[in-house]
């Protein structure tokens, strides 16, 4: 078959919502876009472990400590599924790491903000995982099979994390004045970065159209952002917290909340490396990797020795 025919067949499958599988023919650009998207997501899981790991040793109760450990472990697991999904597209996990460490590959910019109080563990679960779920649930129907299946597992756990985060916020909001202050302070710091998680506005989003065509993206950035605001504002009200946006108000006519302008200068600043923790996060990943080199080498050497002995 020539490429045109293959491409036609591929497009038909996409249109009929038939999953593309690793052995199927796919356009090179589709493959590359998927690798970028899935690895970026995998990197986000891995880098995203760090801001939360920062509070595990200081978790204020054993129950919360255990939950935090389990959550970070889940994130590492998500990283694993997603790297595996990515590897079905013919790339190697180590090469993906190299791109992360060199700064070539991106990860969700939200993890470049610091976790400053215990309430941030609540806010991240509630807002950051909440936003992630908005982004990810539609991807359970992504056109690429391994990706869609990974997302099903991820989303199930994420929504558990989201409820857990909300429950941390709820406990704080029912607590002492200092605890309430912590909760409000965390909302103040995480609200806008969470809105930024959906990416640039539709008019500035360069990949959206093609990705939607390929069904590896199902809604536009602005649609998802609006949905997030609509869902989250009533949750904040329930907590008795104030969303830090003076322009926020319900628009009866639209049936949606109107909200203020995002500080896109900050967004692009953080993406381009000037966030509060960009260097710290990459440095942490790199030094884990570099300090682990001798361990990986040892494991390989031992496996070889063992295989040789078996063969002899």
């Amino acid at each position: 078959m020539d490429t045109a025919l293959l491409e036609q067949h591929f497009n038909e499958k996409i249109d009929q919502d038939i999953r593309i599988e690793p052995k199927d023919w796919m356009p090179d650009h589709y493959r590359k876009t998927l690798i970028r998207q899935i690895s970026q997501h995998a990197h986000s899981e891995i880098v995203g472990m760090l801001p939360e790991a920062n509070w595990i040793t200081r978790a204020p109760s054993l129950r919360r400590k255990a939950a935090a450990l389990a959550k970070v472990q889940d994130e590492a697991g998500h990283g694993l599924y997603l790297y595996s999904a990515c590897e079905t597209l013919g790339v190697d996990r180590d090469d993906l790491f190299a791109d992360l460490h060199s700064g070539k590959a991106k990860y969700s910019s939200i993890f470049n903000y610091p976790t400053l109080t215990w309430a941030d563990m609540g806010a991240i679960g509630w807002l950051v995982d909440g936003a992630a779920i908005m982004n990810q649930v539609p991807l359970c129907r992504a056109s690429y099979g391994p990706y869609a299946r990974a997302m099903v597992r991820v989303c199930k756990e994420e929504s558990f994390h989201q409820r857990q985060g909300y429950e941390i916020m709820l406990t704080l909001c029912n607590g002492s004045d200092e605890q309430k202050k912590m909760a409000q302070d965390a909302l103040n710091r995480w609200w806008w970065p969470s809105l930024m998680m959906f990416g640039p506005t539709d008019k500035d989003s360069k990949h959206t159209e093609q990705s939607m065509r390929w069904r590896i993206k199902r809604f536009t950035n602005d649609e998802l952002r609006q949905k997030f605001v609509d869902v989250t504002v009533p949750q904040a009200e329930l907590l008795g917290l104030t969303v830090p946006d003076k322009d926020l108000k319900w628009n009866e006519e639209r049936g949606h909340y109107d909200f203020g302008e995002i500080d896109w200068k900050e967004f692009f600043n953080v993406i381009s490396g000037n966030g509060p923790c960009n260097k710290q996060r990459i440095e942490a990943r790199k030094s884990a990797w570099d300090n682990g080199a001798w361990v990986r080498e040892a494991a390989n050497a031992h496996a070889e020795k063992k295989a040789k002995r078996k063969a002899a």
Binding site: I46, M49, L69, L80, A288, G292, W294, E297, A301
Partner: protein, 251 residues
Amino acid sequence: MQDQNKFNYIIQQADNCLILGQRLAELCGHGPVLEQDIATTNISLDLIGQARLFYQYAAELQEEGKTEDDLAYLRDAWDFKNVLLVEQPNGDFGKTIFRQFLYDTFSCYFYEELMKSSDERLASIAAKSHKETLYHMKWSGDWVIRLGDGTEESHNRIQQSVNELWSYKDEIISVNAVDQEAEKAGYGVSLELIKEKRNEKIKAVLEEATLTTPEGDYAHKGGKEGTHSEHLGFILADLQFLQRAYPGNEW
């Protein structure tokens, strides 16, 4: 207090679990391989889980209306009865592994015996924990072998850790008054029995790992009586900070 010695006996092991779990939690997100990051986090989680079961039971025996968190967060360093081994710093991956292996080769056989405790609650906590610990010991033992019989660098590194940690090996199977009374009363175990099985296991793994057993059998002690290393104070400063800074809250 129903039974002070039983309380003390439980606290010893609860503190071992908590402090080692806390040490491993420091590594979260910093492992040499993603799979091993998951493994250490998972072991940390198991240990915190075991600590909770023990503290909950201890708090009940105490009959002062306290909770697991009161025991973990509001005792002072000298009240902690964990062995010095578990408070040693993580060091490199080899040191983390060998510390874990020395602990696992205790806890695995300890729980195996404790499952037969005359105290049903202890027996049931032990049964649950034993399953987890079997997996931990397999994991840490395999890594001792992998690193020992891996590259020259890994061999030298883990041999270094073996040498460093050797004097922290035996406190955990040394018998104090609490252990004695616990064994006599039937809810505690014979550490002598555990010692034998453990030494055999350690010997076998070191051998397979082509590692040299250090000479000298000097054993650092103190932890089981509440006299710790300089590390514990810093561990508790982080662990307890929020509860100390904002006392009396729900979290």
